[in-house]
């Protein structure tokens, strides 16, 4: 994306009080850039990772759908497998202060240790800015971005929209499929699904 276009978009973000849907991430288009502070204190910018595959995972530790994938170890397995294959994995927490899933940096670090989670970083988004930029509706919502910076998957983690741990075995995992197909040079066959889970707990005042 041209820098001038990006600037125009940023200005639009500031002045636009109407829904930001037009600017939200879409499959097949360039992933909107953002800069965020992680629970480990480091700053991460999305566009610094051009050349790598990225996974964005919307997270809320109190959500039973997220619980399904963490208590079973499913999410941690995915994080370990794909970061082991040079994929950059950002867990993003867009819960507002006082709402379910909101954590301080140290609380999130404790959680990551306790759950043996292995994302590249857990990004704190208490204003919901990144969430709205990607029009994230649920936790866990998953986004996959290719090395050219194009969104190649946006939606559910798998095809079983339930809170049952027993539904993980045998489910079709859309993140695995998107990454495997893209890395094989193929078209991603299921590039968009309805993300399932709990609504993202944005601040009341936004939108």
């Amino acid at each position: 994306m041209k820098r001038s276009t990006l600037h125009a978009m940023l200005v639009a973000v500031v002045i636009c009080t109407a829904p930001l849907l037009v600017l939200a991430a879409r499959v097949g288009q360039v992933a909107p850039d953002f800069t965020a502070t992680a629970s480990n204190g480091k700053t991460f910018r999305l566009n610094d990772y051009r050349g790598k595959y990225l996974v964005l995972e919307w997270h809320n530790n109190g959500c039973p759908y997220v619980g399904k994938h963490y208590r079973s170890g499913n999410m941690q397995r995915l994080q370990k497998e794909w970061t082991g294959r040079s994929v950059v994995w950002f867990t993003i927490i867009s819960s507002a202060p006082g709402k379910q899933g909101y954590v301080t940096a140290s609380e999130e670090n404790e959680y990551l240790t306790k759950m043996h989670a292995a994302p590249t970083a857990a990004l704190l988004d208490p204003t919901g800015e990144i969430g709205h930029l990607y029009d994230a509706k649920t936790s866990p919502q998953m986004v996959v971005i290719n090395p050219q910076g194009i969104v190649i998957y946006d939606g559910a983690i798998d095809d079983r929209p339930t809170t049952d741990l027993s539904d993980i075995a045998g489910a079709t995992n859309y993140v695995n499929l998107a990454l495997e197909q893209a890395m094989d040079g193929k078209q991603v066959q299921t590039p968009a699904t309805r993300p399932y889970g709990c609504s993202v707990k944005y601040p009341d005042s936004t939108h």
Binding site: V27, H132, D135, D164
Partner: protein, 321 residues
Amino acid sequence: MTCAVRLKGPKKSQPNKKMRANDSSRRLSTALTFGVALVLCAAGAQGAETSIPHGTLELVAENQWVTPGHEFSLGLHFQLEKGWHIYWVNPGDSGEPPRVTWQLPPGLSPGVIEWPAPRRLGTSSIVDFGYEDAVTLIVPVNADSSLAAQPLARLGAEIKVLICREMCIPGKTELSLTLPVKSRPPAADPRTRDLFAATRKELPRPAPQDWKFTVNDAGDSFVLAANVTPQITQAIFFPLAEAQIDNSAPQILRPLAPGFRLTLRKSDRLLKPIERLKGVLVLSGNHAYLIDVPVTKRGAQRSNSGSGIQEIQSSREGPVK
């Protein structure tokens, strides 16, 4: 089953830890549960009742007995604490509809749930479709003609239901009801007659035959038009399929003479054209209609463009939190 028995045992399922922690709200919920049970007793409803997180669930039958060779209806009556909701068959942006696994004797086969028209719930950026307060889901059950008469047939159901307010709690419970099987013609149970009648009123029905609907694919939106004669000041469309329309986008109503036009923004996740738009259309006065309209593409009609005609945004929404 009598009301006295139901009043004794309404707390079968496992309350969530968070609920337990809050004693005063539990006392309130218990009081509400008993209050609801008393009201139901007074109204004479029959059935089996159990608790679910922040509410109760009752299994009721429309008829006094099962008659082989006839269809009859069961009802799942949800009563929820204020502010809590459950979901429609298409839950919208988040959540999950109730799921029922029936345990019925051989010869009895359940049909699909008849879903009353839902409401828009949620915030301005995340919109769900569901029910607050109370709702009854009717399920028709076919009784095979070969079914033998028997004193008691046990009709069991395992129900998984997600109950949400600001946060969501999954509930799982089992209920059963016993009815005799008789060769006599079916007879309605006077204790549940009002509940079933009121619920059927809420069910979406086919639109009158002289109403003509069209759906135009206008690029970034679908434009649903109808030539209905009554003056329409409110219209909300609930899509049956997920990821067709943008659930949180305002639905723009433009009254025409005659009829109206409703502009529905497409979902960003709709990557392929669709052949038909199916769903429930709720018009002024809470009249709900099932519609199934082929989608046509007539050039790139600009939606939402300014004009002198008054536009009305959907306003039949739940509390915006």
